[in-house]
Amino acid sequence: MPSEPITLIKAIMHTLDQEMARNPNVIVLGEDVGRRGGVFLGTQGLLERYGPERVIDMPLAEGAIVGAAVGMASQGLRPVAEIQFADYVYPGFDQITTQMAKLRYRSGGQFSAPVTLRMPTGGGVGGGQHHSQSPEALFVHTAGLQTVMPSTPTDAVGLLRSAMRGADPVIFLEPKRLYRSVKEVVPAEFDFTVPIGKAMVRRIGADVTLISYGACMLEVARAADEMARAGVSAEVIDLRSLLPWDRDTVFESITKTGRAVIVAEAPGKASVASEIAASIAESCLDRLRAPPMRVTGFDTPYPYAQDKLYLPSVTRILNAAKYAIDY
């Protein structure tokens, strides 16, 4: 790992590089992952270093990408497959749900599919309906998968290592809006990992808990700043893992604040935000001083002209928090 600050996408690239160097079973596959180094440059330099047998430019077929990764994983390899944009995962969805998620279960544990499936997600980049989607709910709903989304370079390193070294498939969602927005020195130790299933309290507070993940952590942080200026103390939780999610950290915070605002840019209906809100309601009712509020993307296809308006804004977060506090 470089000792200077690096971006989230560079953190991913370096982690892939290190893991490939360390473990000859690691294979990278996807569209344009070779000479092009990935359209976001997440696999830059890997082809040159590890050759075309381990860095595979795949035909344009997500079903083949996911399916081949499953087959490789079933034979002891450690594939890291890339879907160019999360919006294009659907042609591979059958392979995800039928094979990747269920292979261990249906074979009674004889076979497993420890694939790391990387995909850039989320909007705010002017990409319209097919370069902006956040489909995490579909994966969280599908038993047999683990789903994570880092919001910092350090977490990207730690979660990607956990995914690539773990026993089971991981949907590794990359908030593309953050790819180059933050730089950070990442831990140098080769054994540094972020365990799947653990959230991170980004800011300690007392009045309201803001729960989010991925790119929305930006707006959440800004909202918390504004609230601080107004004398409201917000606790900020970055979920990092969406399934399994860190119930303990969230419930502990709610016990303290009595208020929850869950922020995510995916459409709200039957979403991860719904899941968290429902769980809070189920388990923390007597500690709640206000309804658990969801601030999510609208239940429309992702727009183009109103790209920025679609995303949960700082205002929308503040309004929800204010509602909870004034309740």
Binding site: Y88, Y90, Q129, F298, T300, R316
Partner: protein, 370 residues
Amino acid sequence: MATWQDDSFEAFSEQSISLIDASDRWCGAFDLDLDDSTLIGFYEDLLRMRLLDERLNTLLRTGKTSFLAPCSGHEAAQTGIGRAMRRHHDWLFPYYRDQGLAVLLSSADEVLAQFQASCSDRNKARQMPGHPGSDQAHIFTVASSIAAQIPPAVGAAMAKQIQRSDEVVVTTFGDGATSEGDWHTAMNLAAVRKAPIVFACENNGYAISVRLAAQTATATIAEKARAYGMPGYRVDGMDVLACHYVMKQVIERARRGEGPALVDMAVYRYGPHSSSDDDSVYREADEVAAWKKRDPIDRFYRFLAARELIDEGADKALRDRIKGELAAASERAGAAGTAPVEWLFDDVLAELPWHLVDQRELLLGEVGGS
């Protein structure tokens, strides 16, 4: 004379089909049956596509559009396709590199309005640039997902059969698209149902950075038609007449109810994959230069010049006129204004359900809209 009552062009020919030879002359086995003004029209179409890319690049630089997948190098294919279709009658199910073809079948105004996310975009500025669509011009609105237009294209062709309509469907896609599952499901379905559809591949040999040899183990896309029991034609995609005549043949064959066909047009993408791409990372300048020597516009200019249908002065005048027209269309698109906030919610469904009404209210409250 080309007659469309039989298969004048042979499917699966060893050599790819050309009608303009190395010295830029007609080399068809039949007589050229297009009149002079039609030939000039073809040339104008070719030019308009090239100049459209130029205009779009200007719009990009000035921030008036945000994305471009250039069609330069594909003009002969797109002109050949468009001119073989009955305009506003046959249907196009295009992909994102077909802005040239879309202008031919609809208008520069329609396409530029889409590129500029203008209030005058029939598609209500819902997508990134390069995704036109027009019910009036019979163009199914583009979606970015590769090959996703192809099953619906077949469904539309099946509808034409059921409705006893003589409209034919043409769907276009790149070489990379042929690897997708739904390309296959659609090809197979069309052949089984003998649907009136033509599959036109703008085969530029790359899917972003991935070369054809990493995309498929066959030498051509045309031969894939064998898996479906339909004819496949390999065509010189830098030869507008070859593209046109082959497309015309298979479209009219489909119209007669004789089933679908696959046309594999060997073109080249002059520019990067898109305005977000850097193609120098994965291909050599030499290769680009070699293809440009076969430029479809230059070639057709020489073809016309040899027939004394054009000269430098006329060419210059034509270019100026088209540039003016494109600039004016772009102006009009800009002048129409930008999309209103409410459009974020319209058309999710024909009528907004309560949750969208609520969400619209929330947003309008926030941004101070109506």
